[in-house]
Protein backbone atom coordinates (compact mmCIF):
# COMPACT_ATOMS: atom_id res chain seq x y z
CA UNK A 1 0.00 0.00 0.00
CA UNK A 2 1.09 3.55 -0.65
CA UNK A 3 2.08 4.61 2.86
CA UNK A 4 4.34 1.53 3.11
CA UNK A 5 5.93 2.27 -0.27
CA UNK A 6 6.51 5.90 0.69
CA UNK A 7 7.97 4.87 4.06
CA UNK A 8 10.42 2.59 2.23
CA UNK A 9 11.52 5.40 -0.05
CA UNK A 10 12.21 7.69 2.89
CA UNK A 11 13.50 5.20 5.44
CA UNK A 12 17.13 5.67 4.54
CA UNK A 13 16.86 9.28 5.67
CA UNK A 14 16.95 8.93 9.43
CA UNK A 15 19.43 11.41 10.78
CA UNK A 16 20.15 12.81 7.32
CA UNK A 17 16.97 14.89 7.39
CA UNK A 18 17.01 16.21 3.88
CA UNK A 19 15.25 14.55 0.99
CA UNK A 20 17.09 14.17 -2.26
CA UNK A 21 15.53 15.01 -5.59
CA UNK A 22 15.54 11.31 -6.40
CA UNK A 23 13.57 10.48 -3.26
CA UNK A 24 10.94 13.04 -4.17
CA UNK A 25 10.75 11.89 -7.79
CA UNK A 26 10.35 8.29 -6.72
CA UNK A 27 7.73 9.20 -4.14
CA UNK A 28 5.75 11.21 -6.68
CA UNK A 29 5.92 8.29 -9.10
CA UNK A 30 4.50 5.92 -6.48
CA UNK A 31 1.76 8.37 -5.56
CA UNK A 32 0.83 8.74 -9.23
CA UNK A 33 0.62 4.98 -9.74
CA UNK A 34 -1.46 4.51 -6.59
CA UNK A 35 -3.97 7.15 -7.69
CA UNK A 36 -4.25 5.77 -11.24
CA UNK A 37 -4.74 2.25 -9.93
CA UNK A 38 -7.49 3.65 -7.72
CA UNK A 39 -9.31 4.92 -10.84
CA UNK A 40 -8.58 8.60 -10.25
CA UNK A 41 -8.76 10.35 -13.62
CA UNK A 42 -5.46 10.80 -15.50
CA UNK A 43 -5.71 14.59 -15.78
CA UNK A 44 -6.90 15.00 -12.20
CA UNK A 45 -3.87 12.95 -11.09
CA UNK A 46 -1.58 15.18 -13.15
CA UNK A 47 -2.90 18.37 -11.53
CA UNK A 48 -2.93 16.90 -8.05
CA UNK A 49 0.62 15.65 -8.41
CA UNK A 50 1.76 19.13 -9.39
CA UNK A 51 0.21 20.53 -6.18
CA UNK A 52 1.89 17.82 -4.13
CA UNK A 53 5.23 18.32 -5.90
CA UNK A 54 5.26 22.07 -5.16
CA UNK A 55 4.63 21.43 -1.49
CA UNK A 56 7.11 18.52 -1.34
CA UNK A 57 9.88 20.79 -2.62
CA UNK A 58 9.00 23.50 -0.16
CA UNK A 59 10.04 24.58 3.31
CA UNK A 60 7.70 22.32 5.23
CA UNK A 61 9.46 19.20 3.95
CA UNK A 62 12.96 20.71 3.70
CA UNK A 63 12.93 21.78 7.33
CA UNK A 64 11.12 18.77 8.69
CA UNK A 65 12.85 16.24 10.91
CA UNK A 66 10.75 13.50 9.37
CA UNK A 67 10.47 14.54 5.73
CA UNK A 68 8.98 11.20 4.69
CA UNK A 69 6.13 11.54 7.13
CA UNK A 70 5.64 15.10 5.94
CA UNK A 71 5.20 14.02 2.32
CA UNK A 72 2.65 11.40 3.35
CA UNK A 73 0.83 14.05 5.33
CA UNK A 74 0.82 16.41 2.33
CA UNK A 75 -0.70 13.75 0.06
CA UNK A 76 -3.50 12.97 2.43
CA UNK A 77 -4.13 16.68 3.09
CA UNK A 78 -4.34 17.46 -0.62
CA UNK A 79 -6.81 14.62 -1.18
CA UNK A 80 -8.97 15.58 1.75
CA UNK A 81 -8.92 19.20 0.63
CA UNK A 82 -10.12 18.22 -2.82
CA UNK A 83 -12.93 16.17 -1.36
CA UNK A 84 -13.93 18.16 1.64
CA UNK A 85 -15.24 21.19 -0.16
CA UNK A 86 -18.85 22.18 -0.33
CA UNK A 87 -21.86 21.93 1.90
CA UNK A 88 -22.72 18.34 2.56
CA UNK A 89 -26.14 18.51 4.14
CA UNK A 90 -29.18 18.45 1.92
CA UNK A 91 -30.62 21.83 1.10
CA UNK A 92 -34.14 21.52 2.47
CA UNK A 93 -35.11 25.14 2.72
CA UNK A 94 -37.71 26.70 0.48
CA UNK A 95 -41.36 26.71 -0.41
CA UNK A 96 -43.08 23.35 0.04
CA UNK A 97 -43.26 20.94 -1.52
CA UNK A 98 -39.50 20.84 -2.13
CA UNK A 99 -38.04 18.63 -4.84
CA UNK A 100 -34.93 16.48 -4.98
CA UNK A 101 -34.01 15.38 -8.50
CA UNK A 102 -31.93 12.24 -9.03
CA UNK A 103 -29.99 11.84 -12.29
CA UNK A 104 -27.20 9.70 -13.68
CA UNK A 105 -26.06 7.00 -16.07
CA UNK A 106 -27.94 3.75 -16.60
CA UNK A 107 -27.72 1.34 -13.68
CA UNK A 108 -25.93 3.72 -11.30
CA UNK A 109 -28.49 3.16 -8.50
CA UNK A 110 -30.93 6.09 -8.85
CA UNK A 111 -34.18 4.20 -8.20
CA UNK A 112 -32.80 2.41 -5.15
CA UNK A 113 -31.22 5.65 -3.91
CA UNK A 114 -34.55 7.45 -4.30
CA UNK A 115 -35.99 4.96 -1.86
CA UNK A 116 -33.05 5.37 0.50
CA UNK A 117 -33.36 9.16 0.45
CA UNK A 118 -37.09 9.03 1.07
CA UNK A 119 -36.48 6.65 3.96
CA UNK A 120 -33.80 8.97 5.38
CA UNK A 121 -36.04 12.02 5.05
CA UNK A 122 -38.93 10.31 6.79
CA UNK A 123 -36.68 9.26 9.67
CA UNK A 124 -35.77 12.92 9.98
CA UNK A 125 -39.37 14.02 10.30
CA UNK A 126 -40.25 14.88 6.71
CA UNK A 127 -43.14 13.56 4.58
CA UNK A 128 -41.54 12.46 1.31
CA UNK A 129 -43.38 11.58 -1.89
CA UNK A 130 -41.63 9.31 -4.39
CA UNK A 131 -42.08 10.25 -8.03
CA UNK A 132 -41.16 7.73 -10.74
CA UNK A 133 -40.36 9.54 -13.97
CA UNK A 134 -38.64 6.68 -15.84
CA UNK A 135 -41.15 5.78 -18.51
CA UNK A 136 -38.63 3.94 -20.64
CA UNK A 137 -37.11 1.10 -18.62
CA UNK A 138 -39.32 -2.02 -18.32
CA UNK A 139 -40.99 -2.13 -14.89
CA UNK A 140 -39.16 0.98 -13.63
CA UNK A 141 -42.34 2.51 -12.24
CA UNK A 142 -43.23 -0.82 -10.60
CA UNK A 143 -39.74 -0.95 -9.09
CA UNK A 144 -40.22 2.38 -7.32
CA UNK A 145 -43.77 1.36 -6.33
CA UNK A 146 -42.46 -1.79 -4.67
CA UNK A 147 -39.73 0.20 -2.93
CA UNK A 148 -42.32 2.67 -1.64
CA UNK A 149 -44.43 -0.20 -0.28
CA UNK A 150 -41.43 -1.67 1.55
CA UNK A 151 -40.79 1.55 3.45
CA UNK A 152 -44.42 2.72 3.60
CA UNK A 153 -43.82 5.88 1.63
CA UNK A 154 -46.40 7.06 -0.92
CA UNK A 155 -45.46 6.79 -4.58
CA UNK A 156 -46.98 8.91 -7.31
CA UNK A 157 -49.09 6.86 -9.77
CA UNK A 158 -47.10 8.13 -12.78
CA UNK A 159 -48.77 7.65 -16.16
CA UNK A 160 -46.20 6.30 -18.60
CA UNK A 161 -47.95 8.04 -21.49
CA UNK A 162 -47.31 11.48 -19.95
CA UNK A 163 -44.16 13.45 -20.62
CA UNK A 164 -41.72 13.48 -17.67
CA UNK A 165 -42.22 17.22 -17.03
CA UNK A 166 -45.98 16.75 -16.86
CA UNK A 167 -45.64 13.79 -14.50
CA UNK A 168 -43.61 16.07 -12.20
CA UNK A 169 -46.24 18.83 -12.29
CA UNK A 170 -49.05 16.41 -11.52
CA UNK A 171 -46.93 14.89 -8.74
CA UNK A 172 -46.44 18.34 -7.19
CA UNK A 173 -50.21 18.88 -7.08
CA UNK A 174 -50.73 15.41 -5.63
CA UNK A 175 -48.06 16.05 -2.98
CA UNK A 176 -49.86 19.22 -1.87
CA UNK A 177 -53.13 17.34 -1.63
CA UNK A 178 -51.72 14.58 0.59
CA UNK A 179 -49.58 16.90 2.72
CA UNK A 180 -46.20 15.66 1.49
CA UNK A 181 -43.40 18.21 1.86
CA UNK A 182 -40.63 16.75 -0.32
CA UNK A 183 -40.76 15.13 -3.75
CA UNK A 184 -37.98 12.63 -4.48
CA UNK A 185 -37.88 12.36 -8.24
CA UNK A 186 -36.36 9.29 -9.92
CA UNK A 187 -35.40 9.83 -13.57
CA UNK A 188 -34.46 7.34 -16.28
CA UNK A 189 -30.79 6.48 -16.66
CA UNK A 190 -29.25 8.24 -19.63
CA UNK A 191 -25.93 8.88 -21.36
CA UNK A 192 -24.41 12.32 -20.78
CA UNK A 193 -23.79 12.44 -24.56
CA UNK A 194 -27.46 11.93 -25.42
CA UNK A 195 -28.44 15.54 -26.15
CA UNK A 196 -32.17 14.93 -26.32
CA UNK A 197 -32.26 13.15 -22.98
CA UNK A 198 -30.02 15.74 -21.32
CA UNK A 199 -32.41 18.44 -22.59
CA UNK A 200 -35.27 16.47 -21.10
CA UNK A 201 -33.58 16.73 -17.69
CA UNK A 202 -33.22 20.46 -18.14
CA UNK A 203 -36.95 20.72 -18.95
CA UNK A 204 -37.77 18.71 -15.82
CA UNK A 205 -35.54 21.00 -13.77
CA UNK A 206 -37.07 24.16 -15.23
CA UNK A 207 -40.55 22.94 -14.42
CA UNK A 208 -39.95 21.62 -10.91
CA UNK A 209 -37.18 23.94 -9.57
CA UNK A 210 -35.52 21.32 -7.36
CA UNK A 211 -33.56 22.44 -4.32
CA UNK A 212 -31.19 19.58 -5.01
CA UNK A 213 -30.12 18.08 -8.36
CA UNK A 214 -28.14 15.04 -7.31
CA UNK A 215 -25.89 13.01 -9.57
CA UNK A 216 -26.00 9.34 -8.59
CA UNK A 217 -22.71 7.77 -9.66
CA UNK A 218 -21.33 4.26 -9.26
CA UNK A 219 -18.30 4.03 -6.94
CA UNK A 220 -16.59 1.64 -9.37
CA UNK A 221 -16.70 4.07 -12.29
CA UNK A 222 -13.33 4.42 -13.99
CA UNK A 223 -11.79 7.22 -16.06
CA UNK A 224 -15.18 8.04 -17.58
CA UNK A 225 -16.26 9.62 -14.29
CA UNK A 226 -14.96 13.02 -15.39
CA UNK A 227 -16.81 12.92 -18.72
CA UNK A 228 -20.18 12.18 -17.22
CA UNK A 229 -19.70 14.53 -14.27
CA UNK A 230 -18.68 17.50 -16.39
CA UNK A 231 -21.63 17.02 -18.73
CA UNK A 232 -24.31 16.52 -16.06
CA UNK A 233 -22.93 19.51 -14.17
CA UNK A 234 -22.82 21.67 -17.30
CA UNK A 235 -26.43 20.93 -18.19
CA UNK A 236 -27.97 20.93 -14.71
CA UNK A 237 -25.55 22.70 -12.38
CA UNK A 238 -25.83 19.77 -9.99
CA UNK A 239 -25.93 20.53 -6.27
CA UNK A 240 -24.32 17.33 -5.09
CA UNK A 241 -23.37 13.74 -5.72
CA UNK A 242 -24.37 10.42 -4.24
CA UNK A 243 -21.84 7.65 -4.72
CA UNK A 244 -23.51 4.20 -4.80
CA UNK A 245 -22.15 0.68 -4.21
CA UNK A 246 -19.42 1.95 -1.89
CA UNK A 247 -19.49 -1.13 0.30
CA UNK A 248 -17.60 -3.08 -2.37
CA UNK A 249 -13.83 -3.11 -2.87
CA UNK A 250 -13.64 -0.49 -5.63
CA UNK A 251 -11.01 2.04 -4.53
CA UNK A 252 -13.40 4.82 -5.48
CA UNK A 253 -11.08 7.21 -7.32
CA UNK A 254 -14.17 8.34 -9.21
CA UNK A 255 -15.12 10.26 -6.06
CA UNK A 256 -11.99 12.37 -6.33
CA UNK A 257 -12.33 12.83 -10.09
CA UNK A 258 -15.95 13.92 -9.89
CA UNK A 259 -15.32 16.41 -7.11
CA UNK A 260 -12.22 17.76 -8.85
CA UNK A 261 -14.03 18.55 -12.09
CA UNK A 262 -17.35 19.79 -10.67
CA UNK A 263 -16.38 21.36 -7.32
CA UNK A 264 -19.62 19.93 -6.02
CA UNK A 265 -19.85 17.93 -2.79
CA UNK A 266 -20.54 14.25 -2.36
CA UNK A 267 -23.47 14.30 0.05
CA UNK A 268 -24.14 10.61 0.65
CA UNK A 269 -22.81 7.18 -0.16
CA UNK A 270 -24.81 4.02 -0.80
CA UNK A 271 -23.46 1.09 1.17
CA UNK A 272 -25.82 -1.69 0.15
CA UNK A 273 -28.99 -2.71 -1.62
CA UNK A 274 -31.31 -2.26 1.37
CA UNK A 275 -33.27 0.92 1.77
CA UNK A 276 -31.56 1.96 5.00
CA UNK A 277 -28.07 1.56 3.52
CA UNK A 278 -27.25 5.20 2.95
CA UNK A 279 -24.75 7.17 4.98
CA UNK A 280 -23.11 10.59 4.90
CA UNK A 281 -19.86 11.01 3.00
CA UNK A 282 -16.65 11.27 5.03
CA UNK A 283 -13.82 12.84 2.98
CA UNK A 284 -10.99 11.63 5.20
CA UNK A 285 -12.22 8.02 5.09
CA UNK A 286 -12.45 8.30 1.33
CA UNK A 287 -8.96 9.68 0.92
CA UNK A 288 -7.38 6.86 2.92
CA UNK A 289 -9.40 4.36 0.88
CA UNK A 290 -8.22 5.87 -2.39
CA UNK A 291 -4.60 5.87 -1.23
CA UNK A 292 -4.99 2.22 -0.40
Amino acid sequence: ILTEKLSKIFQGLKGKGRLSKENIQEALKQIRLALLEADVNYKVVKNLLEEIRQRALGQEVLESLTPGQQVIKIVSEELTRLMGEGRRELNLSGKEPLSLLLVGLQGSGKTTTAGKLANYLRKNGYHPYLVPVDIQRPAAIEQLWKIGEEISIPVHPSDSTDRPEDICLKAKEAALRIGADILVIDTAGRLHIDEQLMEELLRIKDVIHPTESLLVADAMTGQDAVNLAVKFNQVLDITGIILSKMEGDARGGAALSIMAVTNKPIKFVGIGEKLDELEPFYPDRMSSRILG
Binding site: R137, P138, Q223, D249
Partner: protein
Protein backbone atom coordinates in the same frame (compact mmCIF):
# COMPACT_ATOMS: atom_id res chain seq x y z
CA UNK B 1 23.19 8.34 -37.24
CA UNK B 2 20.34 9.38 -35.01
CA UNK B 3 21.46 9.14 -31.40
CA UNK B 4 17.90 8.47 -30.29
CA UNK B 5 17.11 5.06 -28.85
CA UNK B 6 13.78 5.78 -27.25
CA UNK B 7 10.47 7.32 -28.19
CA UNK B 8 10.27 11.06 -27.61
CA UNK B 9 8.89 11.57 -24.10
CA UNK B 10 6.11 14.01 -24.95
CA UNK B 11 4.88 11.64 -27.65
CA UNK B 12 5.03 8.82 -25.12
CA UNK B 13 2.96 10.87 -22.70
CA UNK B 14 0.34 11.46 -25.37
CA UNK B 15 0.07 7.73 -26.00
CA UNK B 16 -0.01 6.96 -22.28
CA UNK B 17 -2.86 9.38 -21.84
CA UNK B 18 -4.94 7.54 -24.47
CA UNK B 19 -4.23 4.23 -22.76
CA UNK B 20 -4.85 5.40 -19.20
CA UNK B 21 -8.04 7.30 -19.98
CA UNK B 22 -9.42 4.18 -21.68
CA UNK B 23 -9.18 2.30 -18.36
CA UNK B 24 -6.37 0.10 -19.62
CA UNK B 25 -4.69 0.41 -16.25
CA UNK B 26 -1.16 0.86 -14.95
CA UNK B 27 0.17 -2.67 -15.44
CA UNK B 28 -0.99 -3.18 -19.03
CA UNK B 29 0.00 0.35 -20.03
CA UNK B 30 3.51 -0.27 -18.72
CA UNK B 31 3.68 -3.58 -20.61
CA UNK B 32 2.41 -2.01 -23.82
CA UNK B 33 4.82 0.94 -23.64
CA UNK B 34 7.71 -1.42 -22.95
CA UNK B 35 6.81 -3.58 -25.95
CA UNK B 36 6.48 -0.46 -28.06
CA UNK B 37 9.96 0.69 -27.08
CA UNK B 38 11.38 -2.71 -28.01
CA UNK B 39 9.57 -3.06 -31.30
CA UNK B 40 9.87 0.40 -32.72
CA UNK B 41 12.68 1.03 -35.20
CA UNK B 42 14.74 4.21 -35.20
CA UNK B 43 13.08 5.84 -38.15
CA UNK B 44 9.63 5.47 -36.56
CA UNK B 45 10.57 6.92 -33.16
CA UNK B 46 8.99 10.28 -34.06
CA UNK B 47 6.15 8.94 -36.11
CA UNK B 48 2.96 9.01 -34.00
CA UNK B 49 0.95 7.06 -36.55
CA UNK B 50 3.49 4.26 -36.71
CA UNK B 51 3.68 4.15 -32.91
CA UNK B 52 -0.10 3.92 -32.67
CA UNK B 53 -0.12 1.12 -35.22
CA UNK B 54 2.36 -0.87 -33.15
CA UNK B 55 0.41 -0.22 -29.95
CA UNK B 56 -2.83 -1.32 -31.58
CA UNK B 57 -1.22 -4.55 -32.80
CA UNK B 58 0.05 -5.31 -29.31
CA UNK B 59 -3.37 -4.62 -27.76
CA UNK B 60 -5.11 -6.81 -30.32
CA UNK B 61 -2.68 -9.64 -29.62
CA UNK B 62 -3.42 -9.37 -25.87
CA UNK B 63 -7.12 -9.67 -26.61
CA UNK B 64 -6.75 -12.45 -29.13
CA UNK B 65 -4.85 -14.52 -26.58
CA UNK B 66 -8.01 -14.52 -24.46
CA UNK B 67 -10.31 -15.12 -27.41
CA UNK B 68 -8.79 -18.50 -28.25
CA UNK B 69 -11.03 -20.14 -25.70
CA UNK B 70 -14.18 -18.61 -27.10
CA UNK B 71 -17.03 -21.06 -27.38
CA UNK B 72 -19.45 -18.57 -28.86
CA UNK B 73 -19.07 -19.76 -32.40
CA UNK B 74 -19.30 -23.43 -31.51
CA UNK B 75 -22.27 -25.23 -32.89
CA UNK B 76 -24.10 -26.68 -29.90
CA UNK B 77 -24.29 -30.43 -29.75
CA UNK B 78 -27.76 -30.68 -31.29
CA UNK B 79 -27.36 -34.36 -31.98
CA UNK B 80 -27.84 -35.00 -28.29
CA UNK B 81 -30.83 -32.68 -28.10
CA UNK B 82 -29.79 -31.23 -24.77
CA UNK B 83 -30.92 -27.74 -23.85
CA UNK B 84 -27.90 -25.49 -23.44
CA UNK B 85 -28.10 -23.66 -20.08
CA UNK B 86 -26.43 -20.27 -19.81
CA UNK B 87 -26.22 -18.42 -16.50
CA UNK B 88 -25.73 -14.63 -16.46
CA UNK B 89 -23.87 -13.18 -13.50
CA UNK B 90 -22.30 -9.89 -12.47
CA UNK B 91 -22.39 -7.03 -10.03
CA UNK B 92 -25.37 -4.70 -9.59
CA UNK B 93 -26.68 -2.63 -12.47
CA UNK B 94 -24.24 -3.73 -15.20
CA UNK B 95 -26.97 -4.79 -17.66
CA UNK B 96 -27.54 -8.53 -17.08
CA UNK B 97 -31.32 -8.52 -17.50
CA UNK B 98 -31.28 -6.30 -20.60
CA UNK B 99 -28.42 -8.32 -22.11
CA UNK B 100 -30.28 -11.60 -21.66
CA UNK B 101 -33.13 -10.17 -23.75
CA UNK B 102 -30.64 -9.26 -26.49
CA UNK B 103 -28.94 -12.65 -26.44
CA UNK B 104 -32.30 -14.42 -26.54
CA UNK B 105 -33.35 -12.26 -29.47
CA UNK B 106 -30.05 -12.99 -31.26
CA UNK B 107 -30.39 -16.77 -31.00
CA UNK B 108 -34.10 -16.72 -31.78
CA UNK B 109 -33.33 -14.91 -35.01
CA UNK B 110 -31.15 -17.91 -35.85
CA UNK B 111 -34.16 -20.18 -35.38
CA UNK B 112 -33.39 -21.44 -31.89
CA UNK B 113 -36.08 -21.96 -29.24
CA UNK B 114 -35.15 -19.98 -26.16
CA UNK B 115 -36.55 -19.78 -22.65
CA UNK B 116 -35.72 -17.39 -19.79
CA UNK B 117 -35.54 -17.92 -16.03
CA UNK B 118 -36.22 -15.09 -13.60
CA UNK B 119 -33.79 -16.22 -10.91
CA UNK B 120 -33.38 -12.71 -9.49
CA UNK B 121 -35.87 -13.29 -6.73
CA UNK B 122 -34.46 -10.50 -4.60
CA UNK B 123 -34.66 -7.08 -6.26
CA UNK B 124 -37.86 -5.04 -6.56
CA UNK B 125 -39.62 -5.67 -9.88
CA UNK B 126 -36.74 -7.81 -11.24
CA UNK B 127 -39.15 -10.57 -12.25
CA UNK B 128 -41.54 -8.10 -13.89
CA UNK B 129 -38.66 -6.50 -15.79
CA UNK B 130 -37.61 -9.85 -17.29
CA UNK B 131 -41.22 -10.78 -18.04
CA UNK B 132 -41.66 -7.62 -20.09
CA UNK B 133 -38.51 -8.45 -22.04
CA UNK B 134 -39.74 -12.01 -22.48
CA UNK B 135 -42.98 -10.68 -24.00
CA UNK B 136 -41.08 -8.36 -26.33
CA UNK B 137 -38.79 -11.13 -27.51
CA UNK B 138 -41.46 -13.82 -27.60
CA UNK B 139 -39.70 -16.10 -25.13
CA UNK B 140 -41.36 -17.82 -22.21
CA UNK B 141 -40.18 -16.71 -18.77
CA UNK B 142 -40.15 -19.20 -15.88
CA UNK B 143 -40.58 -17.50 -12.53
CA UNK B 144 -41.84 -17.93 -9.00
CA UNK B 145 -42.70 -15.41 -6.30
CA UNK B 146 -40.26 -12.73 -5.23
CA UNK B 147 -38.26 -14.16 -2.33
CA UNK B 148 -38.27 -17.73 -3.69
CA UNK B 149 -35.01 -19.68 -3.63
CA UNK B 150 -33.26 -18.90 -6.95
CA UNK B 151 -31.98 -22.50 -7.12
CA UNK B 152 -35.57 -23.76 -6.90
CA UNK B 153 -36.67 -21.53 -9.79
CA UNK B 154 -33.74 -22.75 -11.89
CA UNK B 155 -34.54 -26.37 -11.04
CA UNK B 156 -38.11 -25.89 -12.31
CA UNK B 157 -36.96 -24.01 -15.37
CA UNK B 158 -34.53 -26.71 -16.46
CA UNK B 159 -37.16 -29.40 -16.23
CA UNK B 160 -39.57 -27.17 -18.21
CA UNK B 161 -36.88 -26.46 -20.81
CA UNK B 162 -36.14 -30.17 -21.17
CA UNK B 163 -39.82 -31.06 -21.44
CA UNK B 164 -40.46 -28.39 -24.08
CA UNK B 165 -37.29 -29.27 -25.98
CA UNK B 166 -35.78 -25.78 -25.76
CA UNK B 167 -32.46 -25.11 -27.46
CA UNK B 168 -31.29 -22.52 -24.96
CA UNK B 169 -32.20 -21.57 -21.40
CA UNK B 170 -30.94 -18.23 -20.12
CA UNK B 171 -30.76 -17.66 -16.35
CA UNK B 172 -31.03 -14.10 -15.04
CA UNK B 173 -29.50 -13.77 -11.58
CA UNK B 174 -29.57 -10.93 -9.08
CA UNK B 175 -26.74 -8.44 -9.19
CA UNK B 176 -24.26 -8.92 -6.37
CA UNK B 177 -20.92 -7.51 -5.33
CA UNK B 178 -18.18 -10.15 -5.59
CA UNK B 179 -17.11 -9.18 -2.07
CA UNK B 180 -20.28 -10.63 -0.58
CA UNK B 181 -19.30 -14.22 0.09
CA UNK B 182 -22.76 -15.41 1.10
CA UNK B 183 -24.17 -14.10 -2.20
CA UNK B 184 -21.38 -15.82 -4.15
CA UNK B 185 -22.30 -19.02 -2.28
CA UNK B 186 -25.90 -18.53 -3.40
CA UNK B 187 -24.72 -18.55 -7.01
CA UNK B 188 -22.66 -21.68 -6.42
CA UNK B 189 -25.77 -23.36 -5.08
CA UNK B 190 -27.72 -22.38 -8.21
CA UNK B 191 -24.90 -23.89 -10.24
CA UNK B 192 -24.95 -27.15 -8.22
CA UNK B 193 -28.71 -27.50 -8.45
CA UNK B 194 -28.65 -26.83 -12.19
CA UNK B 195 -26.09 -29.58 -12.58
CA UNK B 196 -28.26 -31.96 -10.54
CA UNK B 197 -31.23 -31.30 -12.80
CA UNK B 198 -29.15 -31.57 -15.98
CA UNK B 199 -25.64 -32.93 -15.85
CA UNK B 200 -23.22 -30.35 -17.21
CA UNK B 201 -25.53 -27.40 -16.62
CA UNK B 202 -24.92 -24.52 -16.60
CA UNK B 203 -22.92 -25.06 -19.78
CA UNK B 204 -21.94 -21.41 -19.90
CA UNK B 205 -21.43 -18.83 -17.16
CA UNK B 206 -21.48 -15.39 -18.75
CA UNK B 207 -20.05 -12.53 -16.71
CA UNK B 208 -21.56 -9.18 -17.63
CA UNK B 209 -19.22 -6.20 -17.21
CA UNK B 210 -20.06 -2.52 -17.55
CA UNK B 211 -17.69 -0.54 -19.80
CA UNK B 212 -17.85 2.42 -17.39
CA UNK B 213 -16.28 0.32 -14.62
CA UNK B 214 -12.64 0.97 -13.82
CA UNK B 215 -9.98 -1.36 -12.44
CA UNK B 216 -12.49 -3.05 -10.13
CA UNK B 217 -13.63 -5.07 -13.16
CA UNK B 218 -10.47 -7.14 -12.77
CA UNK B 219 -11.40 -8.07 -9.20
CA UNK B 220 -14.94 -8.84 -10.34
CA UNK B 221 -13.69 -11.17 -13.08
CA UNK B 222 -11.19 -12.85 -10.76
CA UNK B 223 -13.69 -13.60 -8.02
CA UNK B 224 -16.52 -14.72 -10.28
CA UNK B 225 -14.08 -16.90 -12.24
CA UNK B 226 -12.60 -18.40 -9.10
CA UNK B 227 -16.00 -19.02 -7.59
CA UNK B 228 -18.01 -20.30 -10.55
CA UNK B 229 -15.78 -20.58 -13.57
CA UNK B 230 -16.62 -17.89 -16.14
CA UNK B 231 -16.84 -19.08 -19.74
CA UNK B 232 -17.21 -15.69 -21.38
CA UNK B 233 -17.69 -11.98 -20.79
CA UNK B 234 -20.21 -9.59 -22.31
CA UNK B 235 -19.22 -5.93 -22.13
CA UNK B 236 -22.12 -3.46 -21.96
CA UNK B 237 -22.66 0.29 -22.37
CA UNK B 238 -20.02 0.84 -25.04
CA UNK B 239 -22.36 3.42 -26.57
CA UNK B 240 -21.19 5.87 -23.89
CA UNK B 241 -17.76 7.53 -23.72
CA UNK B 242 -16.14 4.77 -21.65
CA UNK B 243 -13.80 2.53 -23.64
CA UNK B 244 -13.80 -0.58 -21.45
CA UNK B 245 -10.00 -0.94 -21.75
CA UNK B 246 -9.87 -2.96 -18.52
CA UNK B 247 -10.91 -6.06 -20.49
CA UNK B 248 -7.43 -6.15 -21.99
CA UNK B 249 -5.99 -6.82 -18.52
CA UNK B 250 -8.70 -9.40 -17.86
CA UNK B 251 -7.98 -11.11 -21.18
CA UNK B 252 -4.26 -11.20 -20.54
CA UNK B 253 -4.49 -12.39 -16.93
CA UNK B 254 -7.49 -14.68 -16.92
CA UNK B 255 -7.83 -15.68 -20.59
CA UNK B 256 -11.60 -15.31 -20.51
CA UNK B 257 -12.98 -14.59 -24.00
CA UNK B 258 -15.32 -11.70 -24.68
CA UNK B 259 -18.28 -13.02 -26.63
CA UNK B 260 -20.41 -9.96 -27.31
CA UNK B 261 -20.58 -6.23 -26.72
CA UNK B 262 -23.65 -4.10 -26.08
CA UNK B 263 -24.08 -0.63 -27.48
CA UNK B 264 -27.45 0.59 -26.23
CA UNK B 265 -30.72 -0.22 -24.49
CA UNK B 266 -32.51 -1.84 -27.45
CA UNK B 267 -32.61 -5.46 -28.59
CA UNK B 268 -30.54 -4.74 -31.68
CA UNK B 269 -27.75 -2.96 -29.76
CA UNK B 270 -25.71 -6.11 -29.68
CA UNK B 271 -22.66 -7.30 -31.65
CA UNK B 272 -20.16 -10.13 -31.71
CA UNK B 273 -16.93 -8.93 -30.09
CA UNK B 274 -14.25 -7.93 -32.59
CA UNK B 275 -10.82 -7.22 -31.06
CA UNK B 276 -9.65 -5.00 -33.92
CA UNK B 277 -12.76 -2.79 -33.89
CA UNK B 278 -12.60 -2.57 -30.11
CA UNK B 279 -8.99 -1.38 -30.19
CA UNK B 280 -9.65 1.07 -33.04
CA UNK B 281 -12.46 2.61 -30.97
CA UNK B 282 -10.00 3.27 -28.14
CA UNK B 283 -7.93 5.43 -30.48
CA UNK B 284 -10.92 7.23 -32.03
Amino acid sequence: LSGKKAVDSSLLEELEEILFTSDIGVEITEQLIERLQRRVDRKSLDNPEQLKTILKEEMISFLEAGQELSAVNEIPDKARNIVEVIMFVGVNGVGKTTTIAKVAHYFQAQGQKVMLVAADTFRAAAIEQLQIWGDRVGAEVISQKRGADPAAVVFDAISAAKARKMDKLFIDTAGRLHTKLNLMEELKKVQRVANQQLSGAPHQVTLVLDATTGQNAIAQAQVFAQSLGVTDIILTKLDGTAKGGVVIAISQRLHIPISFICTGEGLEDFEIFNPREFVEAIFD
